[in-house]
Symmetry: C2
Subunit: 639 residues, 2 copies
């Protein structure tokens, strides 16, 4: 039996119900000063004494009574009988109310002569200049910053009463294994409660993770009761979908009250909220990105309504690099990668569904598409909340295209130059498409080596933009057939093949060879089954889903597969000519040319780097020029 | 002998010299996953296995070989012999490449009939959908976020190799006492190294604070050598000014090399950088705000050049609420309070010098005035970097004026409504001045109770803006003479008096009484010595700097002083009429009217709250109307 959600309420209704149903717990904790950064002050902090506590001299000189100095001039100097010698920082004794700089005095025996009167309190740092005893230092609700701690220490404050909240987090699911155990087939690491613990801990919550509970209503009930007893908020992970093993909603109903189950939010629809023993119980959906939505859009706002600090938000306005569709009536949250090309911030949404956690890892922001919106066109401007330091956006290069391990190595050394390469595996076509829109910094592409095999009629050539492009050579890569058993091209009709996408270099080679040998595609079992790039091919073969496929020698070796070479491809970085002047691209070219990077590729194996860093243009709009050494522009590093 | 700085170099030169003189230490640390938020990845993280590791069904149904389904239609159903029953999340056995939803099948005995062919890989979550074995999860340099940790846990990663840096921090100064010891006269708590530890710790540094070293060159040298041996960076606090007890520069020169001493930056001019045993040694100036500059503008950028994350920066564009002067040739950093009035962000700079730490505590941002700039006019637009959550700016009310403890209590309860009151003690004049420019939300003012004593000719009246103002009554406060010994008004000529500023209510009362009794101001010893408000008066009397002064009964009582009543003042919140519609001001008025707030004031004592929350306008441009109950606008909370 498939259960239904009680009802699907809107995000706004759900949040309003949540915030109005629970009072802030009156829980505080004494925190030592050095551990108080980011904590919220629970009781106002007052100064215990004045700083400075007494009047202090701001100069080297003499402390005087200002009334004794009245009338002193060059023509009628005054000789002071009552004074005290003071240095900067010394106490000004209570009987004095001014300091005269030593340069403005003349010693006359054991007395001082002055030729100008002193204004009351001149050169005196009055007691209480910084703060006065009993005055408010931090109001309730202040979020403590590092530099506040310096002031608090100066004022003698050693501990802070901070807001506290105890959160019990219960993982449920029979398919879960704890972190540190390698999951078997069909199992997954119990990661959502770890994420919840870290996320909520950063807000100032004290989180207790409970042991994993299997899909058993009685055990779930037992754990929920224990967690509600000891905590101010209970979070229960998974079991809230509408499946046959999803007991969370029913158990909460039986122990207390279910406030909502199912919210028109994506990802995150199965989120639920209940009340047990007066305590809120938030049910996280099981899919990781849905759990993130529930934590960020429900748990964090609840804590915020209880006086905890909001997560920092850095909104930026971006143009969409690709169209984005959204379900009408659902508030959607979509991970976005933001990069600056020229003066424009471009946002590339990740729309690979709620289980692909790499989407949030690769994204540096997310956008909220309101319920009444059905989507946006390419080029539409919208707000993105960054999840990284905003400054890092300008240090990030977006390289969509064909991803080879050579690019990952390039990214690793680029970071030492302060640059992040964000690579997304969209194939040659995807890379050229982004280049044409100026929506990326460069596109890594794997181009078949110019040979009689390839004509301008090949589909690959259709998408290649014209002469405003330049190609920076990274390496020549050997490609051929990977298999567990050393399968050669001619053996293919008898085995399970796995193909690569039409726009890939390996597919170009493969199709050309089929044509040359007059082998119909239909004879290749698996010809229609396309994956992205050589790593996907190698994985499929290694895991037994296919017997052979086109791969590079390096990746085949890395996956422990045998390899029969067929051809070469050029792995190159395609850029708009104008980007050759971008200092970040200059740095990348310098790195491609560096002996240390080339040494890394040689160590991996399968790369010919003898032309690395050579830049070539297009001879005309449709054919590739021969690879030829082109003088690199002046000023490039590494030349 | 006064020593000179070796030479004053520009901020730019100093930073460039600093970054080029030291290589990043190759120091890393293994951090457990749950403690890795905010840490920087030191070695690329690769996936240990694919997720999912095998093909998974995305639906409840049957796993099939897609080639068996070719040709199935309603008219020619196909009956499958080879299949496997699967539920969502189940493994799709390797021999199958598609899943057909159970709704699209018809059971025929122990077999299934279908009426539509299945596309290869339909309803299958392919192995490696999230990530493939061996693929890059996090590049070197990635700063780990809470949601990354969920992904890392899923991929079986339990520990991270993170960048690490060891910093030794040495406090110097014979006047220092450690935190927890109450400083005697002329002593201060050693707080700058605590601030450094917390600030640098948040960036990911492991800081070791050394014991306090007194001003002795040999002891300083010993401590510097020990710190340089064990750490990647040494920070030495104070002793770098040009005074006679400032040995830091000389000691560093003798042990190694002094790279710069004295930078054209304010506050922070005495900052120095040296090299001992190849390690950088940064000398922090002793004044707290100068030390902050050195930490934020030197230590943090050095760590950033070593690959540590920059502190988050939230730039906002603000209009200056008051003019700001700057020394030509110096890069200046000025704490700023930013508040939103209507649609404009207003910035009020704090210019009280490098020892007043309360300036940074009260500020929510700071601005950098470049060296070639001499200052800005009121209304000038400039960039401020916020030091608090940007969202908090809209929840903050700026209340400059006369600060009474009643306002601090109001601030404390306002926070429970999500509002921060930022109060700055600038007197009635300062409050009215800000109100006139619309550069504050409201001004707390202490107005003398209308009486024959006060005429429109009083200087106090000059600054009061006209009929577009409204006054929200907070309390009637008793004022009179505070002293240790019960001094009355007529006793004043014989004692040391401490006066309050001309724009204060107590000064109005005092001057009026002098006039009524025909006492010349010159007969009052201390008449010219003015401080801000009653708390400053009470502090001065309690600390023995004066014998008597005008104060409120509540504050006199709090400070343990005797009190002789003379008159009353109205403590009121002056607002622009239009602000009465601002929901935040409505909330504040509701709080002033709340029985709980009034109970707090009664408990403190000295407050008459019988008219609290009554709003009155100005009868004409120059006189105060009688206090009379005015019907509050509809919709106010608490009415």
């Amino acid at each position: 039996m498939v259960k239904r959600y009680l009802s699907l309420c809107s995000l706004e209704q759900a949040l309003s119900l949540m915030k109005s149903s629970f009072q802030a717990p009156q829980c505080t904790e004494i925190v030592s000063l050095t551990r108080s950064t980011g904590r919220v002050v629970a009781a106002p902090v007052y100064a215990k004494y004045s700083v400075p506590e007494v009047n202090i001299s701001a100069m080297d000189g003499i402390a005087v009574r200002s009334r004794d100095t009245v009338g002193a001039t060059d023509r009628e100097p005054v000789t002071l009988e009552v004074f005290a010698r003071v240095n900067t920082g010394n106490i000004v004794p209570p009987e004095f109310d001014a300091v005269i700089m030593i340069e403005d005095t003349w010693e006359v025996g054991d007395r001082f002569q002055i030729r100008k009167s002193a204004a009351p309190w001149q050169h005196v740092r009055p007691a209480g200049e910084d703060i006065r005893e009993g005055r408010l230092v931090l109001p309730k609700g202040h979020v403590i910053r590092a530099f506040d701690i310096g002031a608090l220490a100066t004022y003698g404050i050693t501990h802070i009463e901070a807001r506290a909240v105890n959160i019990g987090i219960i993982p449920t699911g029979s398919e879960l294994v704890p972190l540190g155990v390698r999951p078997g087939p069909g199992q997954v690491v119990e990661s959502n409660t770890i994420m919840a613990q870290v996320f909520l801990g950063a807000i100032g919550a004290k989180c207790t993770r409970f042991p994993i509970v299997s899909d058993d209503p009685d055990l779930i009930a037992e754990s929920l009761l224990a967690a509600a007893k000891e905590n101010d908020l209970v979070i229960i992970s998974a079991g809230s979908s509408a499946g046959t093993r999803d007991f969370t909603a029913d158990v909460i109903s039986s122990l207390g009250e279910l406030l909502f189950h199912g919210v028109a939010v994506k990802p995150g629809k199965p989120v639920l909220l209940g009340k047990i023993q007066g305590k809120p119980v938030l049910g996280l959906p099981g899919y990781p990105l849905a759990a993130q939505t529930a934590l960020r859009e429900f748990a964090a706002p609840l804590l915020e309504s209880w006086g905890f600090p909001p997560s920092p938000k850095y909104p930026v306005r971006v143009r969409l690099a690709q169209a984005l569709t959204s379900d009408l009536g659902f508030d959607e949250f979509v991970p976005v990668f933001v990069g600056r090309i020229g003066t424009t911030l471009w946002g590339t949404p990740f729309v690979r569904g709620p289980v692909v956690q790499m989407a949030t890892v690769k994204a540096n922001g997310y956008t909220h598409i309101p319920a009444p919106v059905e989507g946006y066109e390419t080029g539409h401007e919208l707000d993105v909340l960054l999840t990284t330091d905003p400054g890092s956006v300008d240090r990030t290069l977006f390289f969509p295209g064909s991803i080879d391990p050579a690019l990952e190595e390039l990214a690793a050394i680029a970071h030492d130059e302060g640059l992040f390469i964000h690579a997304s595996n969209v194939g040659n076509d995807g890379g050229f498409f982004a280049l044409r829109r100026h929506a990326c910094h460069a596109a890594p592409v794997s181009l078949p080596i110019a040979s009689p095999l390839f004509s301008t009629g090949d589909p690959f050539m259709q998408h290649r933009p014209s002469r405003d492009l330049a190609f920076v050579h990274i390496a020549k890569i050997e490609q051929g057939i990977a298999s567990r058993d050393g399968i050669a091209f001619d053996d293919l009709p008898g085995v399970r093949f796995i193909n690569t996408r039409k726009d890939s270099s390996s597919r170009q080679v493969f199709d050309a060879l089929l044509r040359m040998r007059d082998i119909p595609a239909a004879r290749i079992n698996g010809y229609l089954q396309e994956v992205y790039g050589p790593q996907a091919v190698a994985t499929a073969i290694r895991n037994g889903f296919a017997d052979a496929g086109m791969c590079t020698s390096g990746i085949a070796g890395k996956y422990g597969l045998r390899f029969v070479p067929l051809a070469y491809e050029n792995y190159e970085l395609a850029v708009q000519q104008e980007m050759l002047e971008d200092p970040r691209i200059c740095t990348i070219i310098g790195l491609i040319r560096s002996p240390s990077y080339q040494a890394v590729l040689k160590r991996i194996g399968g790369y010919d780097v003898s032309h690395a860093g050579i830049i070539r243009g297009m001879a005309d709009d449709s054919t590739l020029t021969e690879l030829s050494p082109t003088a690199p522009p002046a000023g490039y590093p590494g030349t």
